[in-house]
């Protein structure tokens, strides 16, 4: 049982770290948008890429809301598999997004990180929501 006892705070802290870096990218996204564009870019191209990045970040925040709702309501707080999946996904996302900011990676890499590390835990969270509230299973 001590493994579960340490998994819960670890999962919460990596989730918070990922959230913090997503908010930081939202706040200071000019450098990253300029990295996606060719050296001489028009304002229209800039606005286009900026909108795409804003959409990606907003959807990420929405998926965070789903996962935090599941975590705090107790649906998945003590589920070891979801905890481990969430821990690894958000930890790798935090590291990758730090590289994204510092090394000025291109915009398409954000979609890869998003698909692997935000969609996957949120999807499993939704499955758990359906299992607990729909099929009336015990939330472990």
């Amino acid at each position: 049982m001590s493994a579960v006892g340490n998994l819960v705070p670890a999962r919460f802290l990596t989730l918070t770290a990922h959230l913090v870096i997503v908010i930081t990218i939202f706040w200071s996204r000019e450098n990253n948008v300029e990295a996606c564009l060719p050296l001489d870019f028009t304002q229209e191209q800039y606005d286009n890429e900026d909108t795409k990045l804003v959409v990606a970040l907003s959807v990420t925040l929405g998926l965070f809301a789903i996962e935090l709702a599941g975590f705090f309501s107790g649906v998945s707080m003590f589920n070891c598999s979801q905890g481990l999946l969430s821990l690894t996904a958000h930890c790798s996302a935090s590291v990758s997004l730090s590289f994204f900011v510092f090394q000025r990676w291109e915009c398409w890499t954000y979609w890869v990180i998003f698909a692997l590390c935000s969609v996957l835990p949120a999807f499993v969270e939704i499955l758990l929501f359906i299992a607990v509230f729909g099929l009336k299973k015990k939330p472990l």
Binding site: P9, F12, L13, T16, L19, V20, I23, T24, W27, S28, F72
Partner: protein
């Protein structure tokens, strides 16, 4: 041990969950802030007095937060309103310190802004639940 009738549990589970997670979050916050002060001290033009003030206030914050979480934890579990009340009083001081680090310190990094904003979210929820617990504990007719 004589059991005299049913005793409904008044301890607040959401408050307990928040206090537990807040303890871990503050440990990470303290580590992050210490490293950021090392970074800021090296990179930014600090007058020495300001840097000393900020570091000393961070140590004070650590002490106050530990005390607050301890009193809140024990007060919630033993359903005693005095300990919860002390915890809520110290929470006001901790909130003031958090707002200082958010807005009023000499150099505020974006990361510090976000970390302190998350901490203030924790504090607002804990204050709400703390006050509700104090009223629940005071109202009960245990003795």
């Amino acid at each position: 041990m004589a059991v005299s009738g049913k005793h409904t549990i008044m301890s607040s589970t959401p408050l307990q969950v928040l206090l537990y997670l807040n303890g871990w979050y503050f440990a990470a916050y303290f580590l992050a802030e210490s490293l950021m002060f090392v970074f800021k001290g090296l990179m930014l033009p600090y007058p020495t007095a300001n840097l000393t003030l900020d570091v000393v206030l961070l140590l004070l914050f650590l002490g106050l937060e530990s005390l607050r979480i301890f009193y809140g934890w024990k007060g919630n579990l033993t359903e005693r309103s005095l300990a919860m009340f002390v915890s809520v009083l110290i929470l006001v001081l901790c909130a003031v310190l958090s707002v200082y680090y958010l807005l009023l310190q000499t150099f505020v990094l974006r990361l510090e802004f976000i970390l302190n904003a998350v901490l203030l979210c924790f504090y607002s929820l804990e204050m709400l639940l703390g006050i509700m617990s104090i009223s629940a504990f005071s109202r009960s007719k245990v003795y």
